[in-house]
Structures are given as structure tokens and as C-alpha cells.
Amino acid sequence: MIKVTDLSIRFGSREILKDINVEISDGKWTCLVGPNGAGKTTFLRALLGSQSYSGSITDDGLEVFRNHHRNVAFVPQFPQIPIGMSVSEYVALGRSKRDGWGNESKHSRNLVAEILQITGLFGMQSQYVSQLSGGEMQRALIARALVQEPTLILLDEPTSALDLHHQIAVLNNIELLKERGVTIISTMHDITLAAMYAEKIIVMYEGKVLLDGPSDQVIHSPQLQEAFENRINVFTLDSGRPVIVAKKDLKN
């Protein structure tokens, strides 16, 4: 269980996050939604432990800042793509924490092979990471997170750069983690997708949490409208699935 209490983060004179109080349960998929600049990425980095903060974030009772005892996988929105590195080498980096940097156990090698198969990258193992398409790159990132065998995975906009088909493929891959009991926290632009996959949604706006609760409730709440300045329409399909779209005429 991750407990966030009175979290605030400032960059110089700018307040990025203000007095955030939430709880995130283990084994569930929680999605942070909100417009650009709401502070989602910063929040994610604070949960990772690489961003300093005032207030408290605890994971199983321990503060997360610079706490290397956790096993957290991080999938950034804009990864640094090493030149000349093959896909298998890249994915294998995920085992570094377990094996110790520079070592490679047989178990690791097997696991990497397995995960490459699952994510459909096995045939591309010798290709350069820099040559992958957007969708393939994202799969490689997920694969790397998977081989880490993490307890918590943080994903920053995992689908923003992908086409429709790949969006679903990647999200399905991530959902596999739930079977293994991994806690998933992701930021997403696309609330429709968030509603499709996440059990819990946290709505953020200008550094504050407007709303946090089960997806169904949040989707149909007025605070969601507020966060997007009443520029969205929420429809429900016959199957019961919600679809959120932006309003076309923005005269106000």
C-alpha cells in the first residue's frame, strides 16, 4: 500500500504539486489523468523515489525517496535510446538490479528470452533499439520492465505515441502484470483508455488532486468536468463502457 500524505513539490518558485493526499492499493491499476501541466509526471517521479518532496510518501511503511530496497520499474514517456544497442541487450538491462550490474545469470537469460517471446520481440532481438518503430519501442520498454519482476510499475504516458492497434496491444501486455500481483500506476491523456483498464482513477489539475476513486464513479463525476474545464462529453456505450471525447465547439 502506498500512502501519500501532504505531498508538495516546488521547482524554484513554482509549485508543481500542492498538498496531495491519496492511497494506492497493491495489485491494482491506478491511473493519473489530467491536462498537461497538472503535475502527473512529477508525481510519478516522486513515487519512483528520484524526486525530492516535502510531505511523505510511504510504500509499506517506508519513505520512498532514494529508497533502493524497493523493486520499482519505471517506463518513461521519452526514453533515452542508446545507439548501437540490440533489443536483447536493452531488455536485459532490466535484470541489472537483481543480478548485480555486469552479471548475467542463466535464469536471467532465460527470463529475457521468455519475455521477448511474450512481447513479440524475440525475432528482433539483434536489431538495434534505435531502429524500432514507436509500437515496438514501447513493447521493448514494457519487456524491460517485465524482466525486472517488479512489485510496482510506473508508466508515464505509455500509449500517447502509439496508433490505436498498438495502444491496445501494449495495455494488454501491462495488464498481464496484474496477474502477477504487480501494482500498476500510469499517467494517461486518454481517459477512455484509462477507464477501460484502470480500477482507480486520480484526477489531477494544476498540481492538486481533484478527485480520486473507482473509475466508474470518477468518469461520471462533475469534478472530472471541472478538471477539463467543461470541455468534455462523457458517453456510455451499450456495453456499458464509457467514452470521453472533447467537445467540438469551444465557444466559451
Partner: protein, 342 residues
């Protein structure tokens, strides 16, 4: 989940046989280098002398081998290893395949130091030239760190500071040379790089500094792979990227500064050798750092052999050879890795 098809068809990330092979390569190349030169020496006698057996070389020939060829080959190996390794490290730290050990103004700083030594008191300060160029290189890098301010370990801002510092140092050097035209030739030939008269004294102190730096680098080499990712990714994989960068840059700079003060500015080794090794092994992991060091050593020992023998009795500046050999190799490797048609 069970695998379908070939299990474990992945090749290991690093094959340590390659490292062993590069040790052997260096040994072989070194023996080759000390066996050739304008004065013909019997190969058998060379081996006997090296292993302390009877029937070896005597008199002038022995002095030639022990006091001239051997220190020179050793210095070439040390400098080659230093430049290749620090080039590889800089390429990782700055996430830039074109980085070389002279980034961050080290070369310009060393050149300025050398020029100050040469123009200050002529022959008297000439003996202190290595110290001056060493200090110059280190100072330039420190100033680069200082200028890049609170983002001091952030790769891009360090790079830019280095360019600024380098330009400034070069400008001052040019001014000094203009006012002391008698320094032009010595500085120029120093810049070209020369191992012409290595002696055991130079070899000793270079070895100390370079080996310390290389040991540090090879020890942290395993973690350096993490620096190729964003800082957050590296952090999630258990690394402190800022600290690692600082350690790596300091050690690499120490190696570079020592190499430069011993042998002038020898180019291309720091850029070409890392890519050569990565191209041949199809791996960019920094587990290969030790191999890069050994191949760098072999490369320079061979280049120096060429410098001594190709135009005998004249000496080719070693920088010319590394460029001539390095450039085509480099292009071949770049094309193969398709970095050019990215």
C-alpha cells in the same frame, strides 16, 4: 509461462573469451613492436634478454632494447589504453557516439599548459612541460564543471561548458604563440603527438596515474550502462546517475590528462577504438571497457611501430598514422552500424 520454440537462444551479453583474446593480442603486438626498428636485432636474442636468460643482447644493443624500445612500447600501450578507455567512457556519459577524450576542454587546456611551459623560460621549463600540460588539462575540466553550475553533472550542459572552456584556452594559446614565434615549432610538434623519447621515468609516473584511473573505470564499468538511459530509468535500476557520472568523468580525465602530458595530443584513438570493439562484438555494453583498453593499447603500439619504421630514418608523427588508419576504419564501422543512415 512456458516458452514455445527455442529456449535460451540468446547469446550471452558479454563473452569473456574476447577479453582474454585482447590480452593475447596486446602481448603479441608488443613483442612485435620491440623487435622492429632501424637497427636490426636478433629476435631470439630479444626474447632471451626479456626473460633474463643468458645469450641475450649486450652493450649498445641491450641499451637500445631496454632503454629505448621497451619504454617506448610500454608508453604507447599505456597512452593507447588511457585514450581508448576514456573515449568510451565519455561516449557513454555524454550519450554521444562522437565524444572523444578531449571533450570538456582537456586538449585545449593541456595545449595551453604546454605553451605556457615552452614560452615561459624556454629550455629550463621544458622539463616541467608534462606537469604543466597535466595541470592544464585537469583545470580545464574543473572549470567546465564549475561553469555548468548547478546542473553540473548534466551531460549537455557539461558539454557546452567544455566547448566554451576549450575555445577560450585555444585563444589564449594562440595569443601566446603569436608573441613568441620561437615556440611555434615545439608546440606544433607537441600537438601532433610524439612518443619519440620515452624513458623509464615517464613510463613510471604515467603508469601510476593511468592504471589508477583505468582500475576505477573498469570497476564502475558495469554500472556505466545505466548512464545510457535517462536518469529516472537508471535510478529505477539501482544506480545513482549523478554520482556515477562525476566519478567516471574524473577518472577518465585523469587518464586523458596523463596521456596527453606524456605524449602530446594523439587523436582518433579515443573515438575509433571503442567503436571498433563495439562493432566487432556487436555489443555496446560497458563490460567491454577492459577489452577496449587492451585494444587501444595494441592499436597505439602498432601505430607507433609504423611511426618509427615507415619513413625511416624520419619519424612520422604518430597522430598522422592514427588518423590515416583510424579514419577509414571509423567510416566502415559507422556504415555497418548504420549510424550514418539513421
Amino acid at each position: 509461462m512456458k516458452l514455445k520454440g527455442n529456449e535460451s537462444a540468446l547469446s550471452p551479453i558479454w563473452n569473456w573469451k574476447i577479453t582474454a583474446l585482447s590480452f593475447a593480442l596486446l602481448f603479441f603486438v608488443a613483442i612485435l613492436a620491440i623487435s622492429f626498428g632501424p637497427v636490426p636485432l636478433s629476435f631470439q636474442k630479444i626474447l632471451r634478454t626479456l626473460f633474463g636468460l643468458s645469450g641475450g643482447l649486450t652493450g649498445q644493443e641491450r641499451t637500445l632494447l631496454i632503454d629505448l624500445r621497451l619504454p617506448r612500447a610500454l608508453l604507447a600501450a599505456l597512452v593507447g589504453a588511457a585514450l581508448a578507455t576514456s573515449g568510451a567512457v565519455y561516449q557513454t556519459v555524454f550519450r554521444n557516439p562522437l565524444a572523444d577524450p578531449y571533450l570538456l576542454g582537456a586538449a585545449a587546456g593541456a595545449g595551453l599548459g604546454a605553451t605556457i611551459a615552452i614560452t615561459s623560460a624556454g629550455a629550463d621549463l621544458y622539463n616541467l612541460l608534462p606537469i604543466f600540460s597535466f595541470i592544464g588539462a585537469i583545470l580545464a575540466v574543473l572549470v567546465s564543471f564549475f561553469i555548468s553550475g548547478k546542473f553540473f553533472a548534466e551531460p549537455n550542459s557539461l558539454l557546452l561548458s567544455g566547448i566554451a572552456v576549450g575555445s577560450f584556452a585555444t585563444a589564449v594559446q594562440t595569443y601566446l604563440q603569436q608573441r613568441n614565434s620561437s615556440s611555434l615549432r615545439p608546440v606544433y610538434s607537441w600537438i601532433l603527438g610524439e612518443l619519440t623519447v620515452a624513458n623509464w621515468q615517464i613510463v613510471t609516473w604515467s603508469a601510476i596515474y593511468i592504471l589508477i584511473a583505468l582500475t576505477i573505470l573498469v570497476t564502475v564499468s558495469k554500472q556505466l550502462d545505466g548512464l545510457m538511459l535517462t536518469d529516472d530509468e537508471a535510478y529505477s535500476l539501482g544506480i545513482n546517475p549523478n554520482r556515477l557520472r562525476v566519478i567516471a568523468v574524473i577518472a577518465a580525465t585523469l587518464a586523458t590528462a596523463t596521456a596527453v602530458s606524456a605524449s602530446g595530443l594523439i587523436g582518433f584513438v579515443g573515438i575509433v577504438v571503442p567503436h571498433l570493439v563495439r562493432g566487432i562484438t556487436h555489443r555496446v555494453t560497458n563490460r567491454g571497457l577492459l577489452t577496449i583498453a587492451l585494444v587501444g593499447a595494441s592499436f597505439l603500439v602498432l601505430a607507433d611501430l609504423g611511426a618509427r619504421t615507415l619513413l625511416s630514418p624520419a619519424e612520422l608523427p604518430i597522430g598522422v598514422i592514427t588518423a590515416f588508419v583510424g579514419a577509414p576504419f571509423f567510416l566502415v564501422v559507422l556504415r555497418k552500424k548504420r549510424l550514418v543512415t539513421q
